[in-house]
């Protein structure tokens, strides 16, 4: 990782409060104007921040919607343990939609040697239809990726769950229009204007717990496609592939088969904030095999209904 000398020195504490206020406003609009919202919760840092914001938005009431995990079955155990504990603490309902089940019932076919990540779209859309969710809250941010940079806060999906990026609804001021036809739903992105640095700054400010794999730890990894992939039951080393033990952490937490770790000594939230402030690689470029596939990999998945 190369280090740039001009790290931002702007005081971001103030901007964190602005971002929180904006996100809380969005969450309240959703609850006020939709019948059946749901919050996507993976146990990753963005969805953890989303849960905290939801807690704040409806305080002293409880979070008035369920949370849903699209489970590829290829999870980091630390993350699933964290998910279950957090959900219990908050007293929210957890819906788990399983990619394994989609495979077993023949809704999708698993291709040998490729990740389950794209299969999640079918599982997600099936679950949205089965539960008749009309607003699906996601933690995606515009700074993650260039197709995401084009996304609205309230984003319409047609009956097939598809995104039409060439024909998005104008979105002005803080006036969010969630009207839709039967069968359509909206994806809502309250963290649209947050950056990765904001997310970590907020986690630090709020003292929010995150799964341990975000912190530097020793782990057996293999080097594959320029990424460090953890050795797990789903990702065994290939024959002849050297296994090394390295000090790493995760910048994103997703399906274990396509999420890479980064070499890092960041053992505390302060370390992580400092590291993210000077990094020269985007989180997806550094850690997501699925996004490296092509220039339009994310756009194509999003069009089909991906998160």
């Amino acid at each position: 990782m190369t280090v740039s000398v001009d790290t931002p020195t702007v005081d971001r504490a103030d901007s964190l409060t602005c971002l929180e206020d904006e996100s809380v406003h969005i969450l309240r609009e959703v609850v006020a104007t939709f019948q059946r919202p749901v919050l996507l919760f993976s146990g990753g840092k963005d969805s953890i921040v989303m849960l905290r914001l939801a807690e704040k938005a409806f305080w002293p009431g409880r979070i008035p919607f369920p949370v849903m995990h699209i489970d590829t079955g290829h999870n980091f155990p630390e993350v699933v343990e964290f998910r279950d504990r957090r959900v219990t603490e908050l007293g929210v309902e957890l819906v788990v939609a399983s990619v394994q089940e989609s495979i077993d019932t023949g809704r999708v076919r698993e291709l040998p040697g490729s990740s389950r990540n794209p299969l999640q779209t079918v599982t997600l859309l099936d679950a949205i239809a089965a539960h008749r969710f009309d607003a699906v809250l996601g933690g995606a941010r515009r700074d993650e990726e260039k197709a995401r940079a084009k996304e609205r806060v309230f984003s319409v999906r047609d009956e097939l769950g598809q995104w039409d990026p060439r024909n998005q609804r104008p979105e002005l001021w803080g006036l969010y229009n969630g009207r839709h036809r039967p069968g359509e739903h909206l994806r809502i992105f309250p963290l649209s204007n947050w950056t990765e640095l904001d997310v970590w700054g907020y986690i630090r400010r709020e003292g929010i717990e995150v799964p341990s794999i975000y912190y530097a730890h020793r782990r057996e990894v293999v080097q594959r496609d320029g990424m460090l992939i953890a050795v797990t039951p789903f990702t065994p080393p290939e024959p002849g592939e050297p296994v090394r033990t390295e000090t790493v952490r995760y910048r994103t937490v997703g399906d274990a088969t396509c999420t890479g770790a980064v070499r890092s000594d960041a053992a505390s939230l302060d370390d992580i904030v400092a590291e993210v402030a000077i990094t020269r690689l985007t989180e997806r470029g550094a850690t997501r095999a699925d996004d490296r596939a092509s220039e339009a990999a994310m756009e194509d998945r999003k069009r089909e209904g991906y998160f």
Partner: protein, 426 residues
Amino acid sequence: MESLLRVATAGSVDDGKSTLVGRLLHDAKAVFADQLAAVEHASRRRGYDEADLALLVDGLRAEREQGITIDVAYRYFATPRRTFVLADTPGHIQYTRNMVTGASTADVAIVLVDARKGLVEQSRRHATIAALLRVRHVVLAVNKMDLVGFAEEVFDEILADFAALAERRSVRSWSAVPISALLGDNVVDRSAATPWYAGPPLLEHLETLDIQENRELPAEDAAGEAAAEDEVRFPVQLVIRPRRHGYADFRGYAGRVEAGTLRPGTPVTVLPSGQASTVAAIDTADGPLAEAGAGRSVVVRLADDVDVSRGDLLVAGRPPSVTRELAVTVCWLAEEPLRPGGRYRIRHTTREVRAVVEPRTRLDVSTSDSAPTDTLALNDIGQVLLRTAEPLVVDPYSRHRATGALLIVDETSGATVAAGMVEGAR
């Protein structure tokens, strides 16, 4: 000076917006190594001599294929002095609705023009929209100066043209910079090719701009700005009544302070009903607040048991108008033209009401003349009269954005068909 500045780029297609944004991000070192590598790779594959920085922002396949920007892209970067949210908006007339989206939340609009062409209709349209939306400051960036030999006369002529337009459109705060987005002159670093230009390069200009809320205060309001600061506007989003032990009698109103400052003890009126009460407490999950200024999302409790629900407004200070008839300036954003007598809904603050929309006048962007009309079509700017089924609580947009802004929504499709700015109650 605010630490966060929201900037929107505007201007006609091919005037160099994407190149400028790419250049700004690149020279401000806000481009990550993997993004740059991807752009270099894609440029090489396309057979370009140099990395095309526009590919950094053109995030959609169709945009890269056609070499145009279709929808607004948001970029976030920070310099040691300021944090920026940059909305790169499309120049093509067909996608004006997306330019309006990007500009609606901007503090500053950069209007790019091609030095060889000067102000074209689309630059005039964008400047007009920026003025209507009351973007606080407009920067005229005269681009492609390299193609006119960095000639001062060319710059001065465009400046004079723009000055006349700014005057007509009441753009009160603006400035101009001669640049070459492609070569980098006066973008981040001062150019040696423009010794006649005394001002700062564009980025430094943005870093140091002190933007004032240029709110229009009525002449009779002798107390001026102070009076507007005392005007509280708090649209209620939700009533919070927890079914939870320890909060049995809790009844709070969740919302965002859109104008003014709320404090415990502030006397407020609930509109449209007109009931009066006093703020008893301002709550947040992090504890009660002694005051909540504009932008804060809070829960307000009132001292009296009054009837309040979503769509109501808590106000203090000079009252807004409660009306069912209002004059509105609109940008028409839908393919389908305005159908007089059609079924529309108005989305205003946290309220949604049915309305009849009557077209009045249409603005000719190139001549700045308004003429009577019986419809408005895609990208038209004009005046309409709204008659609503239930009262709205409004301020002129020039006085308070949040209570002066509205959307016109097609009842059947749910589409947002127009952006509206309240001129006044009828």
